[in-house]
Symmetry: C2
Subunit: 97 residues, 2 copies
């Protein structure tokens, strides 16, 4: 969901997303974890990939942009996330509905 949210904000590529996540205090345990995730998002039809020649050396970058169904899925996911997060807070603070 977080990767999808990053891509929704603006198209991006794996290597860059790692640092974007770090900027938001969400470091990935390993840099290698991101590529299987991105392929999965693509396989699910939530994002589309396209190659862009690297500016300033290095291999070409594989950019991803969000698809229409990706945007819908993201909306669902973030709603689910918010509900989960509120639920967990309620448990941690000993409240009930």
């Amino acid at each position: 969901m977080c990767l999808l949210a990053l891509i929704a904000e603006e198209p991006s590529y794996g290597y860059e997303m790692v640092s974007k996540l770090e900027e938001r205090d969400l470091p990935l345990p390993s840099e290698g974890s991101i590529y299987p995730l991105l392929s999965r998002l693509q396989r699910m039809g939530l994002v589309e990939g396209y190659l862009v020649e690297a500016a300033g050396g290095g291999p070409p970058r594989k950019y991803y942009r969000i698809s229409e169904s990706g945007q819908e899925r993201l909306d669902e996911w973030s709603a689910e996330w918010r509900s989960l997060a509120t639920g967990v807070s309620r448990v941690l603070n000993g409240e009930r509905r």
Copy 2:
């Protein structure tokens, strides 16, 4: 973590925790998921189990109370959770640190 938090609040048993979670809008996907979790918490030494005769029929209840190291672990876990949750919010809202 949520189960541990419930137990920290007051000792409880599996069947009851299911409804406590529902009360907080955190329904378990299946009632059966809770028992492996509770055993794991016990195996990790975070909770202690004890049997109590059921009031009003049915088999004896297996209550759990939190241990000292369980309380410490819970404090760590909730700190981690809060940091994770803030991170995710940051991503969903397109902020950076």
